[in-house]
């Protein structure tokens, strides 16, 4: 009896612990995201959110639905394995930074404290509006980015020293980018059947 009386303060201390633990459990119940633990020790919904990220490269199949003529021509040539967007760039491009909507003062103040994930700025969509054209690459730069000679490149890979190779003539004078062999464009198209 008196042991309980003289140890009463210890029970008060222990009571605080139990109380804090119960509060913790209640808070935890409300705070932990619902999908946490769905597949493992993480937020299951995160997988879906990551998969929502908008693609910028449409993939060559998407291009080929309209541009089948180019696809056929390319298939027969040396660039058969080079996908459209490897040279033409991603079809969905970001708006230039200057044209993106600016956050207002309040949004910027909030962003300072909580760092929200910036929402994706709008994309240019060539598919929805065909007048929005991907930039035509400059062959002088584009071809050189792969075919400039270097001792570091695999020996079998076709490479040239651009200044010595063409006397300043544009590459497409001799090589059609979609089928770059030295044959005339007509012959290349014929080969494709």
């Amino acid at each position: 009896m008196s042991i309980f009386k003289d140890a009463g303060h210890l029970f008060r201390f222990a009571g605080l612990f139990v109380l804090a633990f119960l509060v913790f459990l209640v808070v935890r119940h409300y705070v932990v995201p619902k999908s946490f633990g769905q597949y493992g020790h993480y937020r299951g919904a995160a997988i879906g959110e990551i998969a929502q990220h908008p693609a910028k490269f449409a993939g060559h199949e998407a291009c080929e639905t309209c541009h089948s003529d180019v696809a056929d021509k390319k298939k027969a040539g040396k660039h058969a394995h080079v996908n459209c967007e490897a040279c033409h760039g991603a079809i969905f491009e970001r708006l230039p930074v200057a044209e993106q909507p600016k956050p207002n003062l309040f949004q910027r103040a909030v962003a300072l404290v909580v760092h929200p994930l910036p929402s994706d700025p709008p994309l240019l969509r060539h598919a929805e509006d065909p007048t929005v054209k991907p930039v035509l690459p400059d062959t002088a730069v584009l071809c050189a980015s792969c075919h400039t000679a270097s001792a570091a490149k695999p020996k079998g890979f076709p490479q040239v020293v651009p200044a010595e190779h063409s006397n300043g003539m544009p590459c497409e004078t001799c090589h059609q980018p979609h089928s770059p062999g030295m044959a005339t464009p007509v012959a290349a198209a014929g080969g494709a059947k």
């Binding site: 993480y42 998969a51 970001r94």
Partner: protein
């Protein structure tokens, strides 16, 4: 290639269907994608890589990777000939001390190499999507994880930004995003592969040096490739279960 307006109107619906699939959708929402049916990895064919940097640029465009940080990058190795001094002693072991460069992650390619001696090769690097990944192991809150289809992902709404995972990755594939202040890394273009597309780096690679592989798909060419080639992973001594397979990897690569 110059389509008339008429052709365009006919073709547009078909294109729209193809592009719809490109646009976002969660794996649960795409009926054709079941996470448990896939186990993703990647094959890198070193003899095919020309170091053009197309993959680095494509990745940065596709995933809005901030400047100076890399979800994928390309290294150029130069294993010199055995160096000897005047008295004929070997002074260094090029296998242990290769010369490596990666200017801006190889984003704009590499300067032309003029020194013909030794051996050169390019090594594209990215997250190894390890099956026993040290980075997901150390995350204190479960903000990074291996998805059921074998992709190492970061939940950026849950990440604390403690950078412990950055320290734990043996390959240097992670960074803390400078403005989001959370861990960031290659997602193996999860938003693309769940839609039936390949990754941006594979799509943009002009030589086919990168191939997305699905190890659970019996028809994937990777199975045949693994039978006929000598394939290695990076830092096998780390026992991370890396799924980034390198064909013809040189012993000096680390």
């Amino acid at each position: 290639m110059n389509l008339s307006r008429r052709q365009m109107l006919i073709l547009l619906p078909a294109a729209a269907v193809a592009w719809k699939s490109v646009l976002a959708g969660s794996p649960e929402e795409s009926p054709n994608y079941k996470m448990t049916d896939h186990w993703w990895g990647m094959l890198i064919d070193i003899p095919k890589c020309i170091g053009c940097g197309n993959c680095v640029r494509a990745c940065a465009t596709e995933n809005d990777v901030p400047d100076g940080y890399f979800r994928t990058w390309v290294e150029r190795y130069h294993r010199s000939d055995w160096p000897m001094n005047e008295s004929g002693e070997v002074t260094a072991n090029p296998l242990i001390v290769p010369e490596v460069i990666s200017p801006d992650g190889g984003k704009e390619g590499f300067p032309a190499a003029t020194d013909e001696s030794g051996k050169y090769f390019f090594v594209p690097k990215m997250c190894n999507h390890c099956a026993d990944s040290p980075c997901t192991q150390v995350c204190p809150v479960g903000a990074t994880f291996i998805s059921p289809d074998g992709v190492v992902l970061v939940d950026q709404k849950y990440c604390l930004g403690c950078a412990y995972c950055v320290q734990a990755c043996p390959y240097g594939c992670r960074y803390v995003h400078p403005t989001k202040e959370v861990a960031d890394k290659c997602t193996l273009c999860y938003h693309r592969i769940t839609q039936g597309l390949t990754t941006a780096c594979c799509e943009a690679c002009p030589t086919g040096a990168r191939q997305l592989v699905d190890l659970k798909n019996p028809n994937d060419p990777i199975h045949e490739f693994l039978k006929t080639h000598s394939v290695q992973v990076l830092k096998p001594q780390m026992a991370t279960g890396a799924k980034l397979f390198y064909n013809d990897l040189d012993g000096s690569v680390r």
